[in-house]
Each structure stands twice: as structure tokens, then as C-alpha cells.
């Protein structure tokens, strides 16, 4: 469904991605794992059009979307739930959710809104509150719900557990599992490698801007090198 090949990207003089390949099939949950600065988040941002690629291609449903603008990529069906949540702090929870559906013109938005409130009851409670006043965990739930409001074909999660208390991290993991169970295609970047590998059907290990290992979530969990370096065994 999503195929990335030979992708290169960077900031200023520095190249961060030195030609990476990965793909995500329909209905799959794929995780990108690796140390801080390995290029996982840059890979996502390049796919989403926030960072301009310097080489390689991104294909989505057979269409070449390399270098398309961010808003065009959202319209194509790829939505990202960004690192650090990035909710609109001065807008209400409801306004944030409605912005998630910005590109949609269909009549089912109200139903989806209700669906999200069902899935995340805390959002219904906080609906008229400014998003900036929510706790970190609540903001993460809002960011996830806001991304789903776009009815994406692929939903990308960038470091959803970052900066959250362990109890909330478990909640986030459970939420992503539920979204996956609904049949959503997911691309996940996580520093919490264990959480990522448990969720993922397949995973790619990033090291300094290259993909060094690829396999099922289970296989990577059992790989002795991965276990030693990333799972803290």
C-alpha cells in the first residue's frame, strides 16, 4: 500500500536518511524502531511532506507521491499523529477534532465525532475545554482521535508514548491495538521498542539513517542483538 524506496532526506547540510526502503501492506501494523537520531521520525516527516525528500520515491496505492505538499498527502489518505501531540492549545477539544476532519466533505463527520467520544470518553467530558489545559495523556488521546477523524487509509504514529507516565503508555499501546483491530493500516515510530514490537506485525530497525534489520515483530523481539541493544535485556 505504502512503498518507500531509496529515500534520502536531511536538514541543511546534514543528510539524515541515506536511502531507506520499507513498505506497509494493507491492514498491517509496521513499526520503525531504533535509537534516538537514527532517522525514524525524519522518515515519517518525509513521507508526510513536512520534510522534502532529496532522493528516492514514496508510492502510495500505486501513485507516486514523492515530494507532494503536506496537505496533498493528507488528501491522498495518509494522516500523522505527530510527536509531542501538537494539539491546538487555544482551541477546544471539539474544535481540534473537527480540524482533524478538515479535508472531508461527507455527511458522516458527526457520527465519527460521536464514535471518537465513545472510544475516548474523556474527550466527551472535556469537549468544551481548551486543549492546552488537558493532561499529557489526555492530549495524546485527543491527538490520536484527531488523526482518526480524517478517516485515513494509513495512520502514522510518531512517538506516541514520548513523555508519558508508564500507566498512560500502557493505555496508548492498548488504544493503538484497538485501532489496529478495527482494520486500520498503521505505521508506528517508537523509542519504546518493546511496546512497538509487541504491537507490530513487522518491524524495521534503523541505525544512523539506514535500515539494518527487517522482520516480524516477534522475530525482532527474539533477535539477540535487538534484545541487547534496544529491549534492555
Amino acid at each position: 500500500m505504502l512503498e518507500v524506496s531509496g529515500l534520502k532526506a536531511g536538514y541543511g547540510q546534514i543528510e539524515v536518511l541515506h536511502g531507506i526502503d520499507f513498505h506497509v501492506n494493507q491492514g498491517e501494523c509496521v513499526a520503525l524502531i531504533g535509537a534516538n537520531g537514527a532517522g525514524k521520525s525524519t522518515a515519517l516527516k518525509t513521507v508526510c511532506g513536512l520534510v522534502k525528500p532529496r532522493g528516492g520515491t514514496v508510492r502510495f496505492q500505486g501513485r507516486d507521491i514523492t515530494g507532494a505538499s503536506g496537505h496533498e498527502i493528507v488528501r491522498a489518505g495518509i494522516t500523522m499523529c505527530p510527536e509531542g501531540r501538537q494539539v491546538f492549545p487555544e482551541m477546544t477539544v471539539l474544535q481540534n477534532l473537527k480540524l482533524g476532519a478538515y479535508t472531508r466533505r461527507d455527511a458522516e463527520q458527526a457520527d465519527d465525532l460521536d464514535d471518537m467520544m465513545q472510544m475516548f470518553p474523556i474527550l466527551r467530558k472535556r469537549a468544551r475545554q481548551a486543549a492546552g489545559t488537558l493532561s499529557g495523556g489526555e492530549q495524546e488521546m485527543l491527538a490520536i482521535a484527531r488523526a482518526l477523524m480524517a478517516r485515513p487509509k494509513v495512520c502514522i504514529f510518531d512517538e506516541p508514548s514520548l513523555g508519558l507516565a508508564p500507566k498512560i503508555v500502557a493505555e496508548v499501546a492498548e488504544t493503538i491495538a484497538r485501532i489496529k483491530a478495527r482494520g486500520m493500516t498503521i505505521l508506528l515510530v517508537e523509542q519504546n521498542s518493546l511496546m512497538a514490537l509487541k504491537l507490530a506485525d513487522r518491524a524495521y530497525l534503523f541505525e544512523v539513517g539506514k535500515v539494518v534489520l527487517e522482520g516480524t515483530g516477534e522475530a525482532l523481539q527474539q533477535n539477540p542483538d535487538v534484545a541487547r541493544a534496544y529491549l534492555g535485556d
Binding site: C48, G49, L50, S69, G70, H71, V74, R75, T79, M80, P82, Q86, V87, F88, P89, E90, M91, Q95, K98, L99, G100, Y102, T103, R146, A147, A150
Partner: protein, 286 residues
């Protein structure tokens, strides 16, 4: 007491003009981080345009004003596209220099097109209403009403439409707005068109209440930025309250103390407010 109410009424009329100027400045600043100094001169261009249409071309005021508002939207969009867009990703000082140059350019264009004489838009509004002992000239009443309608319309646009919400989203987090599918290249155009339209409305009000002359636009933009700082940078409610506070303070100062010192007194009030609330009346702590 009656005198006080009278002065406050006068202040609200002048304050309405400041509100409209400041609304344009605050939305442009809040979303693009640009201190758009040319705003006052562009607004006066709109005032001049209505004057020329009405006084020399014999066009009805009720046709001239909408024409000027539409021209204002176009001019605003052009300014964004030709002047500010090229320096969008450059150092902030570049947009600052462009803003200063643009001010001189627009002032020069106004001078070339409309001359150096001061002009008053012939509205034909010469009735004076009396409501419970407070007298209010027809023009002032219309200015207050028109400003109220424009503020309500703008609030409805920003709060009630997808585009308006996208504008707020871009102001708060540009990257996240892109991820929502907002085309962030079209937002500045819309913001400038809207801001300039409000500015032109203010220019028409200045031309009807007082007079337009070279330098008036620059004086208005200084007042507009004062309102912005008073109300809180980038805050829409702040611009509304700040504009009214400045207008009423000036009117009270002119009515009870001295009209020669009204600007001084208004700025002293502003400084005192900022001593206690450095972020402005409605600005968030940042």
C-alpha cells in the same frame, strides 16, 4: 454624569476605528509574525478611493464602499503575494524591512494619486440624534454600528467556518495544521485579504469622521500597534477591548483634561497597563 456618558460615546466611535485597524494587524501578526506597518497607509488608500468615487465620480456612497472593500481584499492579497511571500522563510528582519519600504511606497502612491490636500468623504450624514440626553452625530452612530457588524462577521468567519478554524490552527501550530490537510500557502492570502478589507472600512470611517491626509495612515498604524500591545499580541478579543480602551481614554482625556495632551494621556494609560500586565490585557503568558 451625562458629560461622562457623552465622552464615552465619542470614545467608542473613535475606538471602533482603532479596533478595525488593530484586528487586521493582530491577525497578520498572529499568523505570519509580520509587523505590517503599511496597513495604515493601505487603509487610507481605501478611504481615498471612496472619496474619489463619491466626490469626483458621483458614485453613490452605498456603491463606493463595497467597491472599496472588494478592492481592499484584492490589494491585501497582492501585498501578501508580491511583498511578503518571497521572504516567508527568510530571516524576520527581511519582512520588517519590506514592511517599512511598503509603507513608504503606499504613502507615495497615495500622494501621487490623491494629492497632498486633506479630504473629507462627503457622506451627507448631518443629522444629530439625541438618545436620553446624549447627543450622537449620525456618522458616529453608523461607524459604531458598522464596526460592530464587521467584528461580529469576522468572529463568525473565524469561529464558524472551516477556513476560519484553519486560520486559527495555522496561528497556533503551522506543522500540525499541515497534518490536518490545511493548505498553508493559501491561508496568508485569505488573512491579508480579510485584514485589508477591515482596514479599508476603517479608512472610510476616518475619512467620514475626520479627514484623510498624508501621514494619517502612519499615525493610525502606530495607534493600531499600541492597541495590539495593550490588548495582547495576536489576540482578537484583545484587539477589540484594547481599541475601545484607547478610544475611550483619548475621549475622556480630551473632554476632561486637554485635547492637546490626549495622545500623551492615552499612552500613559497604556504604559501603566503594561507595567501590571506585560503580556497585555488578554495576552497569554508566553
Amino acid at each position: 454624569m451625562l458629560e461622562l456618558v457623552q465622552q464615552i460615546t465619542n470614545g467608542v466611535a473613535i475606538g471602533s476605528v482603532y479596533v478595525l485597524i488593530a484586528l487586521g494587524l493582530t491577525t497578520v501578526f498572529g499568523i505570519l509574525g509580520i509587523a505590517h506597518f503599511a496597513h495604515g497607509s493601505v487603509s487610507m488608500f481605501g478611504g481615498y478611493l471612496v472619496y474619489v468615487l463619491v466626490a469626483s465620480q458621483g458614485v453613490s456612497l452605498w456603491l463606493a464602499i463595497p467597491v472599496a472593500l472588494i478592492v481592499g481584499m484584492g490589494v491585501g492579497g497582492l501585498i501578501e503575494f508580491l511583498a511578503y511571500r518571497p521572504v516567508r522563510n527568510a530571516n524576520h528582519i527581511n519582512a520588517f524591512i519590506i514592511a517599512l519600504g511598503l509603507t513608504m511606497m503606499v504613502e507615495g502612491i497615495n500622494l501621487q494619486l490623491f494629492g497632498a490636500d486633506q479630504v473629507v468623504i462627503p457622506t451627507g450624514f448631518d443629522r444629530v440624534f439625541e438618545i436620553a440626553g446624549v447627543t450622537i452625530p449620525e456618522t458616529r452612530l453608523y461607524v459604531i454600528l458598522a464596526a460592530t457588524v464587521l467584528v461580529i462577521a469576522m468572529t463568525a468567519f473565524v469561529e464558524g467556518t472551516k477556513t476560519g478554524q484553519a486560520i486559527r490552527a495555522v496561528a497556533q501550530n503551522r506543522d500540525a495544521a499541515i497534518l490536518m490537510g490545511v493548505n498553508v500557502r493559501s491561508i496568508p492570502l485569505i488573512v491579508f485579504a480579510m485584514s485589508t478589507m477591515l482596514g479599508v472600512a476603517a479608512g472610510v470611517m476616518v475619512g467620514s469622521l475626520f479627514a484623510i491626509a498624508p501621514g494619517v495612515g502612519e499615525a493610525m498604524v502606530v495607534k493600531g500597534f499600541a492597541v495590539l500591545i495593550l490588548g495582547g499580541l495576536g489576540s482578537i478579543p484583545g484587539a477589540i477591548i484594547g481599541g475601545l480602551v484607547l478610544g475611550v481614554t483619548e475621549a475622556l482625556a480630551a473632554g476632561f483634561l486637554s485635547s492637546a495632551y490626549k495622545d500623551v494621556i492615552a499612552f500613559v494609560v497604556m504604559i501603566v497597563v503594561l507595567l501590571f500586565r506585560p503580556q497585555g490585557l488578554l495576552g497569554g503568558a508566553k
